[in-house]
């Protein structure tokens, strides 16, 4: 194996490790942190089923964002939906051997890359030219978009221009990562840049705003059922405090019971 292939193979496992451990820790943190009070935001479902549907609409259609701002919704949706299709299509590289027939149907998904890049471009333009959004942007907010744009554009170049990469080799490399049967990877610059930035993305996922992906599922204003009067909702720390009558205000204001 070439040195560059060894480096990229190592980078893959390192970034994947950071991603899994980091996300695991973060999701664990989100899940063990109690939500002591019922704080769903209207329009609020009154049943658990209602909450499930609300969440599905939120993560598939970006319902709240649609109500909020049509431009951000349009660009955000183009980007995320494009990314989803592109990711699904990328599965072919990680499955060793012949592909199931269903993958033929996914062939057109490659055009989703354009949706992705257009969406990202729109978001970047807004970030630069809408003063309100410029005001709230940190350097990392621009960098994140730039990085995703470069990933998208380098992918487009490989797929739609004459700068094709040897996909057979890519497949051998990628499926080798899965089966631990490591292989050399093509060394065109745009492919290496593409791959490297994907690894960076994986690694910074748990320490950046990309945490919105697990975050939305844990958002109490979106995932709580509005049944406060029917069921007593109490967090472990509040229950402990209640049992111990430990409210320190008793000392200054007197006991209530």
């Amino acid at each position: 194996m070439s040195t560059i292939s060894i480096i990229f193979t190592a980078l893959f496992y390192i970034s994947l490790f950071i991603f899994i451990v980091g996300m695991g820790r973060k999701i664990y943190q989100f899940s063990v942190t109690p939500a002591p009070l019922k704080i769903p935001t209207a329009p609020t479902p009154l049943t658990q089923t209602g909450v499930v549907f609300r969440m599905i609409r939120e993560v598939t259609l970006f319902e709240s964002l649609f109500r909020s701002n049509k431009w951000i919704w349009l660009f955000g949706f183009l980007f995320h939906f494009g990314l989803l299709l592109v990711l699904v299509r990328h599965l072919r590289y990680f499955i060793p051997g012949d592909l199931p027939e269903i993958f033929l149907l996914m062939q057109p998904f490659k055009y989703a890359a354009f949706a992705m890049v257009i969406g990202l471009g729109g978001l970047l333009v807004r970030r630069i030219f809408v003063p309100r959004i410029r005001y709230i942007s940190a350097p990392s907010d621009y960098l994140m978009l730039l990085m995703l744009i470069i990933i998208g554009v380098s992918g487009v170049i490989m797929t739609f221009t004459n700068n094709h990469t040897d996909v057979i080799m890519v497949k051998a490399f990628a499926s080798g990562l899965v089966t631990f049967d490591w292989a050399n990877l093509p060394t065109e610059t745009h492919f290496l840049v593409h791959l490297f930035l994907v690894f960076v993305l994986l690694a910074i996922f748990p320490i950046s705003k990309l945490l919105h992906v697990p975050g939305v599922f844990f958002s109490p204003t979106r995932n709580q059922v509005d049944d406060a009067r029917k069921k007593r909702h109490i967090s472990p720390w509040a229950l402990k405090q209640e049992k111990e009558h430990a409210v320190k205000l008793d000392q200054t204001l007197g006991k209530d019971e």
Partner: protein
């Protein structure tokens, strides 16, 4: 009142997103609390020496106790969807009043101290130190948030600035930088029993006067009972209802509805306050302490129903939090002694707690109330959805009931009703500008500016539909509107309680003999609860 001069916003024909006006709302914030108000709440009397250390530790504690804080701090992608949703931004154009920018005052410190990127690459991710300037910004701008949660409706992740604002205020209190208005009032509520500091004898006199007045005006012996043990309903209402205009006309209305229904009810001198400013300052403990007074009153008076008067955040605390804080509700596990003690006593055929609007609505549905709607024919009414009711609660147990029921009640007693523009009502309602602990004269500038979006929508229906009455079910909204309406060339008396409209139209024809009340609804000579010996607040 040494308020600084400021321009009252002009009402545009439609709401425009203003250009950013940096630092226009910079300032020292509202009057700071002092030792006398801080100490009883368990907060330091002045800014402590090692405040940074304590503040960061408190931030760590809060994010481990509140999933909302942790998740909201991590999840924001700075998409900008919320940037034009805050009434204080729309009215003031100060960029720090954009919800995300307000949160970022807090989030930048969180990143600096609790995240990898913020610790090692602070400039890259906009992480900042909590220094004196930042703390001043916190104090100023987190007291320009009414915790109305409009931003949360529009955020793709549901990020609720109110949660961040509450956490920031709790940290500020912990390091001795409290707000005078909220903390002084809390002291009164937690010792005397209400925000006005009205002791039991004064309250009793007020209610007796009110009974005489109502009998004179309406010719029916409507009662406003206090501390009646064994009454069916305990009414918890904001203390503004006892005195302030137009609130008291709402209280008159409640009494008339109870009278017509023939139910026995009482108020409590020990828990004579529906408002719970513990929520505004973000303190679970203090909010619970205030809620426990109501629990105690319900237990001592042996009532079977707890009902809440017209008050926005009180209804949020009651509907969403009481069951958690004090067990006023239903569905506790049988092993849960604290909650069960009360829940066994409460009548499970009714929602606990119940809103006065739900109660009146139910009576109307069952045909138990008769109205002469023409009494309100001089009015064309619109309804202001109060933020806490609209976005944080429900009524009637049906989806959107908190929007439907009040409108139903108004339409049952008025012939002329119109809604304001859809994007300014219901879950998208604009705050009155005075909620969340901002209803104090030292914050008049932000209150007036923040009222602009609501005033704009009101101007539209005034012009196009001839609206001359603004009805609301929140004591803070009513007080705020009374103050700001004239600034925008409206009649300050156009703001009314919903139950004032009910009161005007209701026909009091109940036969006088069949009173289902237990002992002595008419007179309560012996208060069963001793008012606390802390009538004075010095």
């Amino acid at each position: 009142m040494a308020a600084k001069e400021f321009d009252i916003p002009k009402l545009p024909t439609y709401i425009e997103i203003p250009e950013l006006n940096h630092g226009v709302m910079d300032g020292d914030g509202p009057f700071k609390s002092v030792e006398e108000f801080q100490k009883p709440l368990g907060f330091p009397g002045e800014k402590i020496d090692n405040w940074q250390e304590v503040a960061i530790a408190k931030m760590g504690e809060l994010k481990s106790k509140y999933r909302s804080v942790q998740v909201f701090l991590d999840s924001c992608v700075k998409c900008g969807a919320c940037t034009d949703k805050c009434h204080y931004f729309l009215g003031s154009s100060d960029p720090k009043n954009m919800p995300v920018a307000r949160q970022d005052l807090f989030r930048s410190v969180y990143r600096r101290h609790f995240t990898f990127a913020g610790k090692y690459f602070p400039k890259l991710v906009g992480a900042k130190e909590l220094d004196d300037d930042m703390l001043d910004d916190w104090y100023n701008y987190f007291h320009q948030c009414s915790q109305c949660r409009r931003c949360s409706v529009f955020c793709p992740y549901g990020i609720d600035t109110a949660e961040i604002s509450m956490a920031a205020r709790e940290i500020l209190d912990t390091v001795g930088v409290g707000q005078k208005y909220c903390n002084q009032i809390l002291g009164k509520a937690l010792t005397v029993g209400n925000n006005l500091g009205l002791p039991e004898p004064a309250l009793r006199d007020t209610l007796i006067d009110l009974e005489e007045e109502v009998e004179e005006d309406f010719g029916a012996p409507v009662k406003y009972p206090l501390d009646v043990k064994g009454a069916e309903i305990l009414l918890i209402t904001p203390s503004a209802d006892f005195f302030a205009e137009p609130h008291i006309d709402g209280l008159i209305g409640y009494g008339k509805v109870f009278y017509q229904d023939g139910v026995s009810w009482t108020m409590s001198s020990y828990a004579s306050e529906g408002a719970n400013f513990g929520m505004f300052i973000g303190s679970y403990d203090i909010m619970r302490k205030a809620a426990l007074r109501i629990r105690k009153a319900a237990l001592d008076l042996e009532v079977s129903r707890v009902m809440v008067g017209e008050c926005g955040h009180a209804w949020r605390v009651a509907y969403s939090f009481w069951n958690t804080l004090s067990g006023v509700g239903a569905g506790a596990q049988s092993s849960d002694e604290h909650a069960m003690r009360l829940q066994k006593q409460l009548d499970d055929r009714y929602p606990q707690p119940q809103h006065i609007i739900e109660y009146t609505h139910d009576l109307i549905q069952r045909g138990k109330l008769n109205f002469d709607k023409s009494e309100n024919d001089d009015r064309t009414v619109t309804f202001h959805d109060s933020c806490n009711v609209a976005r944080a609660t429900n009524m009637g147990g049906i989806e959107g009931g908190q929007f439907i029921l009040p409108r139903d009640v108004i339409k049952a007693v008025c012939n002329n009703y119109v809604d304001m523009e859809r994007s300014t009502i219901k879950e998208s309602t604009f705050c009155c500008g005075g909620g969340g602990g901002l209803l104090t004269d030292d914050l008049m500038e932000i209150r007036v500016k923040g009222a602009m979006p609501r005033m704009q929508a009101l101007k539209e229906v005034e012009k196009n539909e001839g609206v001359n009455t603004l009805a609301a079910i929140c004591a803070i909204c009513k007080s705020q509107f009374s103050k700001v309406l004239p600034k925008f060339d409206f009649d300050p008396y156009m703001i009314v309680s919903v139950h004032q409209l009910v009161s005007a139209a209701i026909i009091l024809d109940k036969p006088q003999t069949t009173n289902s009340s237990p002992d002595g609804q008419t007179d309560a000579e012996e208060p069963v609860i001793e008012a606390e010996e802390t009538a004075e607040t010095e």
